[in-house]
């Protein structure tokens, strides 16, 4: 499953969320991550995320896709970070 995750957190919690997401997905832009993951990994991530979030104030949005190949990604301007396996 290919996931794009976007969050909007209060200033106090945004750093924690960033660190959590870095463990599972590739950072592409401020508050935006994308990456391939399994159902279980996503559940782990969301479980952890719920503990960080204040669900009355913060929001987290997921875009799920079955495969990366069905995703048409366009970058306008600078690519902040590439997500490939070659460094």
């Amino acid at each position: 499953m290919y996931v794009i995750l976007v969050y909007d957190m209060g200033q106090k919690r945004v750093g924690k969320m960033l660190k959590l997401c870095r463990r599972y997905m590739n950072w592409i832009q401020n508050s935006v991550f994308e990456g391939e993951m399994t159902e279980v990994q996503l559940r782990e991530l969301l479980h952890e995320a719920r503990r960080i979030m204040d669900e009355d104030e913060d929001s987290l949005i997921l875009f799920k896709n079955r495969d990366q190949k069905w995703l048409d990604k366009q970058i306008i301007g600078v690519e902040r970070q590439s997500t490939d396996n070659f460094l």
Binding site: K19, R22, R23, Y24, M25, N26, W27, G35, E36, M37, T38, Q41, Q81, N85, F86, L87
Partner: protein, 337 residues
């Protein structure tokens, strides 16, 4: 899915917030923008550039079960950091050793490896023979078929290795007919490879070898006890056995494809004292090609679903395990397309 990461840039890898942080460093020693690798998605690390790391990082990688493979400046495989074994199985180990100790049982498995390799070699040759009528590979094909037929006659492993050597020699002899216009083979040479094509083969075989090693690590097999190759000290020789079967399919096909599509040119190589190596950009391109090849999927006939080439290697390990445990006879993977 966990994906291998390939590090070409020099830099520093560190543990940061329970994940990996890679800070590239350029030639002037100036640090670039760090990149975080999601620990949950990292399969193996392949280090081609120079990597700065400390023991805290290796502790972390060990805990997460991530292997690191190192390659030197001349593209040779120098070794791996293997995390602590996590799939220990005493019964498997005992059975594997028993099969190695009993000459009769050992040669049976060794023969299968040679059969698998020869079949896949023939598949590659026949493909190029059919595709282009101008290139005549019939002679090499006939010779290899004859050699393959003599495999059951081999009474011991050295004799089998001899047959295997003849098959490879004939096979490499046919390379000129396939990529003859731009490159020439001029016999197999290694340590160091003497020309461009040999450099490619050596480099590709090494990638295949490490891919097999990583796969074996994730099974209960012991990578040091092998059947076709003699298990030596400090060597993962089972990976050599296994890679025999996959080299023609994973490596040689990739080489032919990249050369015939002119993705690799003679200008992509650099002659060094006593040998020939790939230039950085071309090396990266080749590794990229290899990575794509492993991700490529085929419809598996017995399983009835799509599996990637990387998974085929794993299935091969499972088949070998079943054979060693006496559940099902091992039949090597033979490409049918």
């Amino acid at each position: 899915m966990k994906q291998p990461k390939y590090l070409f840039n020099a830099g520093r890898m560190s543990r940061k917030d329970n994940t990996l942080k890679f800070t590239p460093v350029d030639e002037a020693g100036i640090e670039g923008q760090p990149r975080y690798l999601p620990i949950e998605q990292v399969g193996d690390l392949y280090v081609f550039g120079s990597l700065d790391a400390n023991s805290a990082l290796y502790n972390f990688l060990g805990q997460e079960g991530i292997a690191v493979h190192f390659f030197n400046y001349y593209e040779h495989y120098t070794g791996s950091f293997m995390p602590r074994e996590y799939l220990l199985a005493g019964k498997m180990q005992v059975d594997q050793t028993k099969h190695y100790m009993a000459a009769k049982k050992r040669i049976e498995i060794a023969r299968r490896f040679v059969e698998g390799a020869a079949n896949n070699i023939l598949r590659v040759l026949k493909y190029y023979d059919n595709r282009d009528k101008a290139k005549d590979l019939t002679e090499a094909i006939c010779l290899i078929e004859r050699l393959l037929a003599s495999v059951p006659m081999a009474v011991d492993v050295p004799m089998l290795m001899g047959i295997e050597g003849n098959i490879r020699q004939t096979y490499y002899g046919a390379f000129d007919a396939i990529v003859g216009q731009t490159f020439c083979m001029d016999g197999r040479s290694k340590r160091p490879p003497q020309n461009e094509l040999n450099a490619l083969i050596s480099f590709g075989n090494m990638l295949c070898y490490t891919a097999c090693l990583s796969t074996i690590y994730h099974t209960q097999l012991n990578p040091t006890i092998s059947f076709l190759h003699e298990p030596g000290a400090r060597r993962y020789s089972l990976a050599l056995d296994l890679s025999e079967v996959f080299k023609p399919i994973l490596v040689d096909r990739l080489i032919f494809r990249m050369i015939n599509k002119r993705q690799l040119q003679p200008s992509d190589f650099r002659s060094e004292v006593g040998g020939c190596v790939l230039k950085d950009a071309a090396r990266k391109r080749f590794v990229q090609g290899f990575d794509e090849q492993l991700k490529e999927t085929i419809k598996h006939r017995a399983l009835g679903r799509s599996v990637s080439y990387r998974h085929l290697v794993k299935l091969e390990c499972y088949k070998l395990q079943k054979h060693l445990l006496g559940l099902e006879e091992y039949r090597p993977f033979k490409a049918w397309w």
